[in-house]
Symmetry: C2
Subunit: 218 residues, 2 copies
């Protein structure tokens, strides 16, 4: 399993990573069209609450979910030694966490500007639980598999929990995104852009999962 393995890039599971990228990039483009064209664009320091808030969906999808998905697929997509893949897996998740923290901050800042109470909705509850467990998963993963690194037997025992837990967290993040989209006022247009954004985010999550799950078999 170690080192460079050309044949790995021809499996059906690896082909699904291509589809996952198409879904992820489509969701990102639609999200940007929505936020920049139909809404008022981004500005963290704006006095206009909507411009602050718009950063929240952008950072939570592109910063958090997209990078976490890339991190999950790193063992399939990065043509390098297993050590490099592992480092990227850790690094992309770290980037996802940092951008996720900024994204959560923008939601809190928006609430403060609008004098709305925090942590009131189902979206906020699921999101905060997901994010806290995501952070814990990163810490456990780092300690077990990178530094100080557990003994081989312990790592082998922990691996199924790391993989299954990571997948559950990915789907929890997708659930949070979908509930978040439901919370935003519906577009007046009949052509429901938000619905398509939600669908492509969901398809991204499913194809990231399938590319990894099927990678264990086919």
């Amino acid at each position: 399993m170690d080192g460079y393995n050309q044949s790995r890039y021809l499996t059906p599971a690896s082909r699904i990573t291509v589809v996952a990228h198409l879904f992820g990039i489509t969701a990102l483009i639609l999200l940007l069209v929505w936020l920049l064209h139909y809404r008022t664009g981004f500005d963290l320091d704006s006095s206009h609450p909507e411009r602050v808030f718009n950063l929240h969906p952008f950072l939570m999808f592109f910063g958090f979910i997209f990078f976490a998905g890339e991190a999950a697929m790193a063992y399939k997509t990065i043509r390098a030694s297993r050590e490099v893949q592992k480092f990227c897996h850790m690094l992309f998740h770290l980037i996802a966490i940092v951008l996720g923290i900024v994204g959560i901050y923008t939601a809190f800042k928006f609430h403060n500007m609008q004098h709305i109470s925090h942590m009131h909705s189902l979206h906020s509850w699921i999101g905060m639980i997901t994010f806290c467990f995501f952070g814990l998963q990163w810490l456990f993963g780092f300690a077990l598999f990178m530094f100080p690194k557990a003994r081989p037997f312990t790592r082998e025992m922990a691996m199924p929990w790391h993989i299954s837990g990571g997948r559950a967290l990915l789907y929890m993040a997708i659930c949070t995104a979908e509930t978040g989209l439901m919370q935003i006022e519906p577009l007046t247009s009949k052509f429901s852009l938000i619905n398509f954004i939600g669908l492509f985010i969901l398809f991204f999550g499913i194809t990231v999962d399938l590319s990894i799950a099927l990678g264990h078999y086919v």
Copy 2:
């Protein structure tokens, strides 16, 4: 793997099925408290639209998601031969589909009573896609694994897709439930019953997934 295997019931994965049941039953109790105590209860033939609508969340969670979860866990929870487990796996999914159809019908009937257009929300889009693929998954599963039943090699090739696809559908159903809860008017009470219902439905989905995923390893 065939036949009665006592030791299987002591693995960590099997213990998670107990936790999954606790989460599922808690979600069901909270859902009934909400629908029967805080809302107006059920009646499919009522002239009061809310009493018709209330059947929708009940049937989609208890009828569809809960039975589908039970079906998914049948190989872990039912103490019988593999053939009996497999039959229950198929049957519980069929019950889920039938009750799901009635549940979807109640939403359409409510829309008609209220003169609301159908298939407008992200919830309805995700839900309909999930339900259609769920039906296809059942048909493919039945044809491949029960009748007329494919050759062993084909079944072995199809199994990872059946398992991974089934898990994706479970999480899609959970996503749909969460978006549906977001669509219903928030309770006036500060103690947000809907949020707890959403959390326990999510935890049910995660623990059903983990009990099966970890069952392959631990």
